[in-house]
């Protein structure tokens, strides 16, 4: 009995020490120097791993943020400023406030505005369709309606409106990750400033055709008439290749351009009252298909 006890102790101790010696070498070889802040940062990240920040995932972002000298180039579009504040607090950096962004669809070629010229019968994919031809309407710039943007959105923020055949962005869900922007073969979706109290004005068309051609293809097309450019008191609008573009940094939301646009190509969203239209003609916009209006928390 005593022998058993002694042997027990001897064997275990010797084995333990041999093992320890070996493990000691190992441990010396790879010391894991992990910055504990990486875990902390990762913990405050949204965890969507969407890649919207340009890194492989939230952890990769956290590592990059910890390593970087400041946070200028690291911004999580999904978490937005609140998350970045937290990250900054952990790391002791300043964050530049970024204006919240949202995806907008710059096409107003609803079924009514844009008469169909043919039917597409291939794989329901904008990419495939775009590679084949310009689409089933006369407009060769507009939305193809197969919803590539819808399927890439990880946040369920885009859906196809069956009435208009156009995608609709739910601005409460959109995190401005930009996945849809990349997915659209037509370059229709743009990330824009969300705007004060979610008020925005933008040109919902990218048709570069000459006015007459554009108009024939779509009632709501921007025809490049330049009225808005002349009207805008803040020099926010430029006209290139027959389309107007409103620079959101300069736009003061006066909506004068909306009033003069003869085709209703300029959209104003979330404004409480519609603007008085100057042109006699009924605007082509039947319903505002671009954004779901939401109650905003100031």
């Amino acid at each position: 009995m005593i022998a058993t006890i002694v042997w027990t102790i001897v064997i275990i101790t010797v084995l333990g020490l041999v093992l320890a010696a070996i493990l000691y070498f190992i441990a010396k070889r790879f010391k894991v120097e992990e910055d504990p802040r990486i875990d902390e940062v990762e913990a405050v990240m949204p965890g969507a791993n969407c890649g919207g920040c340009g890194f492989a995932g939230c952890r990769a972002f956290a590592e990059a943020a910890v390593k970087a000298p400041n946070l200028d180039n690291n911004y999580c579009p999904v978490g937005g400023n609140p998350v970045m504040q937290k990250v900054a607090a952990i790391l002791g950096y300043e964050v530049k406030e970024k204006l919240p962004m949202v995806a907008v669809v710059r096409c107003n070629g609803t079924c009514e505005n844009r008469p169909r010229t043919n039917y597409y019968d291939g794989l329901k994919s904008c990419k495939v369709k775009a590679a084949l031809y310009t689409g089933d309407t006369g407009c060769s710039f507009g939305c193809l309606g197969c919803g590539d943007c819808v399927s890439v959105c990880k946040f369920d923020a885009i859906s196809m409106d069956p009435d208009t055949g156009l995608p609709v962005v739910d601005e409460t869900k959109c995190t401005a990750c930009g996945a849809c922007v990349k997915a659209c073969p037509k370059g229709i979706i743009e990330l824009r400033n969300k705007g004060p109290r979610n008020l925005r004005v933008f040109v919902s068309c990218i048709n570069k055709d000459k006015g007459a051609v554009a108009r024939k293809a779509c009632k709501a097309a921007c025809i490049g008439c330049g009225l808005c450019v002349k009207t805008c008191p803040h020099d926010a609008i430029t006209l290139v290749d027959n389309v107007a573009y409103i620079d959101y940094e300069k736009c003061k939301l006066c909506r004068k351009c909306v009033a003069v646009c003869p085709t209703g190509a300029i959209h104003d969203v979330n404004f409480p009252k519609p603007v008085e239209r100057v042109s006699k003609q009924k605007p082509a916009v039947v319903k505002t298909p671009v954004e779901k209006t939401v109650k905003t928390e100031a």
């Binding site: 019968d121 291939g122 794989l123 994919s125 495939v128 590679a131 031809y133 310009t134 689409g135 060769s140």
Partner: protein, 456 residues
């Protein structure tokens, strides 16, 4: 003894219903619209200005690069505009619009029907003729012929294959060309043979065109008696199977060699030219006539009268359709080209190009895609693929964005023949997906090659 290629292939039916209609010249329209992007490679650069008077056969655009081609006016008249116009897919292409006034031809063109069998000896001059006459491959790819006929140094052509397979259902313009202009085709063949310096030329014709086979055999025999320049040309009957006329498949069938992935036919000592291209070469070299017209099959089961028409380049499709009696009431799809590889027309106002070979009308039951279900892994697509690929796998890899897998499984080798999509019982749009994936992979390969070249 008929020959055929060794991998895959399908029998989509022949439907050569316009085979007995001889080629008739179609009246010249009031206006033609000639695109400067009629060939593979850089678009041509217009050399005329708005308001210029032009005559038929006069060059109106010059090559925009090494792989590019001359373009000639197909009518006489005044240049009305030069600017963007929609092609048959609705894309804007720079187009020269010419309103037709009379039918005055450039003087040096020999417009007689006489057969010129004496072939000039100066190969350089011949190539120059081919170049200045804007000859491009008429078998589908419209690759500038003079480039193809100048193999890079070190590469030697051993066999010239003249592609008379016309393996697509419905198409008959090559067949009619062989029947009506067989002599010219053979002389064209002899010219290519001489330019390439090969001893052997094979005219490959599918055995569903027995008349053409015997007719061409007779002509070769006849011409062989005239001159030794016509020696070494033979006719090879091919088993009717789609895509027998595919360049790679044809080389496999005729020479039992396979072009390596990413390689060119010349790597295995082959040059393939279409029947109509051979005719165009004859016209260019012997008659000084550039490509200003081509034969187009106008067909479809729903069409009352089938036709093979000789049409000036740049004629609006709608004009041809009106001439042929308008669009049939039950036609839902108009295809430029054959039903397997042709392009569906979304803009009937688009004009013909040099390479336009057919206008085909299909009805809804013939063409409409059936509801797609899940892949049942029946293997029919893989069995049909003439490149030995696994379309079902490529489809899944593409949907999973697995670029490495796509490249490893040779998505870049797809020749877009459509055999897979045709065969799939689950109606999976295989080729739709693979085509996009192939483009992506080719882009990656190209970028990689470029990077490798840079780092050297």
């Amino acid at each position: 003894m008929s020959h055929t290629f060794s991998i895959g292939g399908i029998h989509p039916g022949e439907r050569k219903i316009s085979r007995d209609c001889s080629i008739e010249a179609m009246p010249v329209p009031d206006t033609v619209y000639i695109s400067v992007a009629q060939h593979i490679g850089a678009p041509a650069k217009p050399i005329v200005a708005v308001g210029d008077k032009v005559v038929t056969g006069q060059p109106i655009a010059e090559p925009g690069g090494f792989v590019s081609a001359y373009i000639h006016s197909s009518v006489s008249g005044t240049v009305k505009s030069i600017g963007p116009r929609k092609d048959l897919a609705g894309k804007q292409q720079t187009t020269i619009e010419i309103s037709v006034e009379g039918d005055e031809w450039a003087e040096d063109i020999d417009r007689t029907d006489s057969l010129v069998t004496v072939i000039p000896d100066d190969n350089k001059a011949i190539l120059e003729k081919i170049r200045t006459c804007g000859v491009v491959g008429l078998g589908g790819a419209t690759f500038p012929t003079h480039v193809k006929l100048s193999p890079p140094p070190g590469k030697k052509c051993e066999t010239l294959i003249i592609n008379g397979c016309e393996c697509e259902p419905y198409l008959t313009s090559d067949f009619r060309t062989m029947m009506e202009k067989g002599e010219q085709v053979v002389v064209g063949t002899a010219i290519i043979k001489q330019v390439l310096g090969v001893d052997k030329a094979v005219i490959a014709i599918e055995d569903n065109k027995p008349e053409a086979i015997s007719h061409m055999k007779e002509i070769i025999e006849k011409l062989f008696k005239l001159s030794s320049k016509f020696s070494g040309i033979s006719v090879m009957p091919m088993i009717s199977k789609y895509p027998e006329g595919g360049e790679k498949q044809l080389i496999d069938a005729v020479m039992h060699r396979q072009v390596k992935s990413g390689g060119l036919p010349i790597d295995v000592g082959a040059v393939v030219q279409n029947i109509a291209t051979a005719l165009a070469i004859y016209d260019a070299v012997q008659k000084n006539k550039p490509i200003i017209e081509n034969s187009i099959t106008v067909t479809g089961d729903c069409l009352e009268k089938q036709r093979n028409l000789m049409v000036r380049v740049g004629t609006p499709l709608s004009y041809i359709m009106d001439y042929a009696g308008g669009i049939p009431a039950d036609a839902v799809k108009i295809i430029s080209g054959g039903p397997m590889m042709g392009k569906a027309v979304s803009n009937p106002d688009a004009a013909t190009l040099k390479g336009t070979s057919a206008i085909l009308f299909l009805t809804s039951p013939q063409t409409e895609r059936k509801i797609q279900s899940q892949c049942i892994r029946c293997g029919r697509c893989a069995e049909a693929c003439p490149m030995g690929l696994e379309p079902f796998l490529l489809n899944k890899l593409a949907l999973n964005d697995d670029d490495e897998g796509l490249e490893a499984n040779a998505a870049q080798d797809c020749i877009e023949c459509g055999c897979c999509l045709y065969s799939c019982p689950a109606n999976i749009p295989l080729l739709d997906v693979i085509r996009v994936a192939k483009a992506k992979i080719l882009g990656i390969i190209k970028a990689r090659a470029k990077a490798a070249a840079q780092s050297k």
